[in-house]
């Protein structure tokens, strides 16, 4: 009785299965790699998939659990990418242990992104619905564009930061001074510390943290705000505060994804495709198709939808011509499965029939209705 009353158990089981799926996929990929038959195309997809899984899972916190539409998630990824890269380059000579350096860089990327999340969130989270979507979109673009006019250099006198022009940095080049972030050219020479194992570990950490968060007092407050803002306030929940917490935590993990991204590329620059609205919308597509407030859905949708176009690309021309068509059809099918109640009910019925006969449940619901 006591055990069945606590709803933690089925939830824990659900989360456990999600984590298990990730581990199984990871193990399968490890086998595949070890067998030597994994082509370079697939190798190249591994870290990006981890990056976008982290993006989708964290965005789901805002869209699925908080119930607010944010179109600026890539902006926070951008902040994480740049700040972590700057840190890694500056400390490359002082911190020799690359793993330790990368771990700190990831934390710094996450923390700066979270700070931006709070700065953006304070004015923006007063808005709702379409307004919030538009303003977050704008903020994401502003962050991206800011990085394109930012110049950062170091010399013996310390760190120099300027806007618009590298000459304004006043760097003393004679003593090994150099520009690290060179406006639109971005950052070159970030140590390539990212790899699939680190990516996988970060995915697991993100999942566990967000699962625990959602299934805690704070997470319940956030879900309550989504379900009914006025009722949540009426039971003493500070709506703005909890919205901000969710937004900042999601931004933190976007920053972590950004760090993974910038340490996986030789030269980092901010474009519409990597940190602009295109990316924000792509991640939103993963979240929506994977299912609101379904972390497992976000993981699976991201893997399928990110890998699919790339995988289809390598087949012969016949299939390649239909690449986008196949992609579109899969998008539509996933959308139908996730957001169509009739299909959902059918699927659930199917599940119930398979698992256990629904007879055990029926009298209970009848009794409910009678009272």
């Amino acid at each position: 009785m006591k055990k069945s009353v606590s709803n933690l158990n089925p939830l824990t089981k659900k989360n456990f299965i999600t984590l298990l799926i990730c581990v199984v996929i990871f193990a399968a990929v490890q086998f595949w790699q070890a067998s030597g038959s994994m082509g370079s195309l697939y190798q190249g997809l591994l870290v990006p998939i981890c990056i976008y899984v982290i993006m989708a899972v964290s965005l789901n916190l805002v869209v699925g659990y908080l119930g607010e539409l944010s179109l600026g998630h890539a902006g926070f990824m951008c902040v994480g990418a740049y700040t972590s890269s700057l840190f890694s380059i500056m400390t490359q000579s002082t911190i020799s242990n690359s793993l330790l350096r990368f771990a700190i860089a990831i934390l710094i990327g996450g923390i700066f992104a979270a700070i931006f999340g709070v700065i953006v969130g304070i004015p923006v989270l007063r808005l709702r619905g379409d307004y919030l979507a538009i303003v977050t979109l704008a903020f994401g673009e502003i962050i991206k564009n800011l990085m394109n006019v930012l110049y950062v250099g170091v010399d013996n006198n310390g760190i120099h930061i300027a806007i618009e022009d590298s000459t304004k940095l006043n760097i003393d080049y004679t003593n090994g001074g150099k520009i690290i972030l060179n406006g639109p050219q971005g950052i070159t020479g970030t140590p390539r510390d990212s790899n699939f194992i680190i990516g996988f570990i970060l995915v697991m950490i993100t999942l566990i943290v967000i699962m625990n968060f959602v299934n805690s007092r704070t997470g319940r407050a956030i879900t309550a705000i989504r379900d009914n803002r006025i009722a949540a306030a009426s039971v003493g929940i500070n709506v703005t505060k909890y919205k901000l917490i969710a937004f900042a935590l999601a931004a933190f993990f976007a920053g972590v994804a950004g760090a993974l991204y910038s340490h996986n590329t030789a030269s980092l620059s901010a474009t519409t495709k990597n940190f602009g609205y295109m990316m924000s919308i792509m991640v939103l597509v993963y979240v929506v198709l994977g299912g609101m407030a379904s972390l497992r859905g976000s993981v699976i949708a991201t893997i399928i939808l990110y890998a699919l176009p790339e995988v289809l690309r390598q087949f012969n021309d016949d299939i390649n011509n239909y690449r986008m068509l196949i992609y579109a059809i899969i998008l539509i099918v996933m959308m139908l499965i996730n957001n169509n109640d009739t299909i959902k009910n059918k699927l659930n019925q199917f599940k119930n029939n398979k698992n256990k006969s629904p007879k055990g449940k029926e009298p209970e619901t009848v009794k409910e209705a009678e009272v």
Binding site: N7, F213, R217, A231, N238
Partner: protein, 252 residues
Amino acid sequence: MALLEVKNLGISFGGLRAVDGLNLQIEKGTLYGLIGPNGAGKTTVFNLLTGVYKPTIGTFALDGEVLNGKSQAQINHKGIARTFQNIRLFSKMSVLDNVKVGLHNNCKYSAFAGVFRLPSYFKQEKAMNKEAMEILKVFDLDKEASVTAENLPYGKQRKLEIARALATHPKLLLLDEPAAGMNPNETEELMQTIRFVRDEFDMTILLIEHDMRLVSGICEQLTVLNFGMELAKGETSAVLNNPEVITAYLGE
């Protein structure tokens, strides 16, 4: 001193004076009824007392502390909890979680402790589960603890709203048409539950209701509103026999 002291409270929407100079004193432990025809301003009074609307004139105080101007959340912290005429549950959350959200400020642990599953998380969650189940039991909802709120039958949803409000440990409980949509059996049962809550939790309750059987059955004092203004007030039986009340409200 009365628990709730409302002085000259009023609000206008454009030209409409939805509530106009309301005075109300509710003693601790009273079951107080607020009645009146549709559109009289009853729900608006609740919205004023819970901070959904800010009053244009007047003040209200709970236990001597002036609360007008404070936010919804702050007013709840000070001890006023409510239910809604149009049910507002956390519809996608379980029945148990709905009550646990109500317990939010009574069993505290940090977000950090929640994420990293520190001992305080387990301790407080256990305490929350225990108390939430006890509250659910009062409303005969304990067997539905894991049901999603939106799947509850209507009458039980109304009860769950009361349970959730009670979980915030209020001093004053505001119930907006708790029996709306219930059949006579359910209403009878609800009357007993409301009385039980008052006695067991030592609660002060202000309720809006149209069901005269419920009003005359459990309310000790009444205020009748008409066009935002007080029409009559006093002992239930006296008010219900007031000829003015009968013509303005009961007669129609």
